[in-house]
Subunit: 336 residues, 2 copies
């Protein structure tokens, strides 16, 4: 039962629309009545019902964000980036955690669409391309970050060149003299996982190094996967001299396995990965890593949505490819 437009109108014996006008700053209103209205708004503590506004406006002035893992600092930064743009434009952000579950992801997309979001920023975990094409017809802008949809359709995209970054990261290991390289990557229906693998393979081929099937590990983007895959390798006779992980959690798991075996990183096995953002500053060994401009990815994605909202008939799709940084650290510098 909060106070609403009609209450303050009644209170002043004027019409509801005049009040609406001063609230929205639209149309001309007599200066004195404006003052009076503003005053009683304060007094009565009126706040507009955003749901009613959204219904009228046909937009909730909200950006929806779907990420696979809220605990991952990369996504946390992306979200902060989106939020910055959103709040600058008086929009809010609904954050959803798909938990790397395609089903959950689809449900959230549906829900956000039903909530009439202005736009959607999504790091898909391999959702059905046909579904995305169908959503596209809703006219609500989808901006893909991180993982791209497996489709020929045009979509807005903000990402890095994962093939190239994978190549560069592998090249760094090759330059250190490594010939026995293993890779731990994520689900192959996630483009990041597939492309980073591709870059890795390409680099090895270009440098005349064999890519061993047995040293291509595929798991979820989680510590447990990295741990488990590494453990299997550690039980074999021949060990790789360097590990390339497609994200940080995979590598943390792998390193745990390596260390439990009494081996040292990097002296026994070197290690590199994507997205090792050390929030603590105390991770040992410090990880050589590809660092994506996460905050910028989020803010650009937010910008695209804002731009499309302002210019509805803008039928254009942007593919923004950002430059990541290769940070070289202990974990790839063999002491020998």
């Amino acid at each position: 039962m909060s106070v609403q437009l009609k209450d303050i109108a009644k209170h002043l014996n004027i019409s509801i629309s005049t009040v609406s006008r001063v609230i929205n700053g639209t149309g001309r209103v007599n200066k004195d009545t404006r003052e009076l209205i503003l005053k009683t708004i304060k007094e009565l503590g009126y706040h507009p019902n955003e749901v009613a506004r959204s219904l009228k406006r046909k937009s909730a002035n909200t950006i929806g964000v779907i990420v696979p893992d809220l605990s991952n600092s990369f996504y946390a930064s992306v979200i902060k980036g989106v939020e910055k743009i959103a709040s600058e434009n008086e929009h809010s952000v609904i954050v959803c955690n798909s938990d790397e579950d395609i089903q959950k992801e689809e449900e959230y997309v549906q829900l956000l669409l039903q909530k009439q979001v202005t736009g959607l920023v999504i790091a898909t975990v391999g959702g059905n391309p046909q579904l995305f094409e169908q959503y596209k017809r809703s006219g609500i802008p989808f901006v893909f970050i991180d993982n791209l949809p497996n489709t020929q359709e045009n979509f807005d995209v903000v990402t890095i060149d994962n093939v190239k970054a994978g190549y560069d990261l592998a090249k760094h290991l090759v330059d250190q003299g490594h010939k026995k390289l293993a890779i731990i990557t994520g689900p192959q229906n996630q483009s990041t996982a597939a492309e980073r693998l591709l870059g890795f393979q390409k680099c090895l081929e270009d440098n005349g190094i064999t890519v061993h099937e047995k040293w291509i590990g595929v798991g979820q983007f989680r510590r447990e996967s990295g741990y488990q895959i590494m453990n299997e390798w550690l039980q074999q006779d021949e060990l790789p001299t360097a590990i390339f992980a497609a994200n940080d959690f995979l590598l943390y798991g792998a390193i745990k396995a390596i260390q439990e075996r009494g081996l040292n990183v990097p002296n026994d096995i070197a290690a590199v990965c994507f997205d090792a953002n050390d929030e603590t500053g105390l991770v040992k060994p410090q990880i050589t890593s590809i660092i994506q401009p996460a905050h910028m990815i989020g803010s650009i994605a937010g910008d695209i949505i804002m731009r499309k909202e302002k210019n509805k008939n803008l039928k254009m799709f942007e593919k923004i490819v950002l430059e990541p940084k290769l940070i070289i650290n202990e974990s790839s510098q063999t002491g020998r």
Copy 2:
């Protein structure tokens, strides 16, 4: 223009209300027409407009969450906990990041209220008590986590006993023989910061140890604060033998300062803190820390809101105090 109720009604030459009935499963509808309706809903790809529903329902079926820092894994876990309960109850979650800024926090509270959220989970950074009392009259449940509002009013609260936890953590250092203890805590208008300090002081007093004013550092809950405060101490003649930090970021910053000085943790200076959740498993030294049941805090907070939604006239406030765990690790075990 997406398909809506009237489209599928028109398509079948029946009334809008019948369609609404089958969608909501309310009232009796002829079995055949029901089937038919369900079928065309599929065909035409109808999805209800949640905003319209929310307006009618006067609730957005959404839980709002405001946290000071999305990058903090403690809050990330809390959010996951809230989200779990929300999705079990077909609600969604709006996440807002106040960035430890009271102004931003207030704006977000206002916004969420306007968005007609079902309830609000908030880790306040010291918002105005009168404001909270005013919000309370809105009838929308506020559940406080982590930091409590500085007011006598009753509110729902899910937290730990920070005084006791602070006491226990300090006691651990005392038991290790430390007599020269320093504390780095957060803004004193955040109850966690104040209460952890209180517990620390109480413990020292109980054990006949002087609490030195000069070794009480107050900053933001950030790495930079910890770094800066520790650096100042390091420039003095006398050094503490142990550092107690009110959260993990503060301690990471302090340790950085200590290590840059060429000193060792824990051999030169022992260190403990709250909330050191090591997501990587590679933080060295491993931190002795009070670990809160973050996921549970979130899910209980969500539960309270769901309960209050179901039972509107439930005029009762719950104060849930959970037990944290004290995890003893390297950082407090002096080698001598």
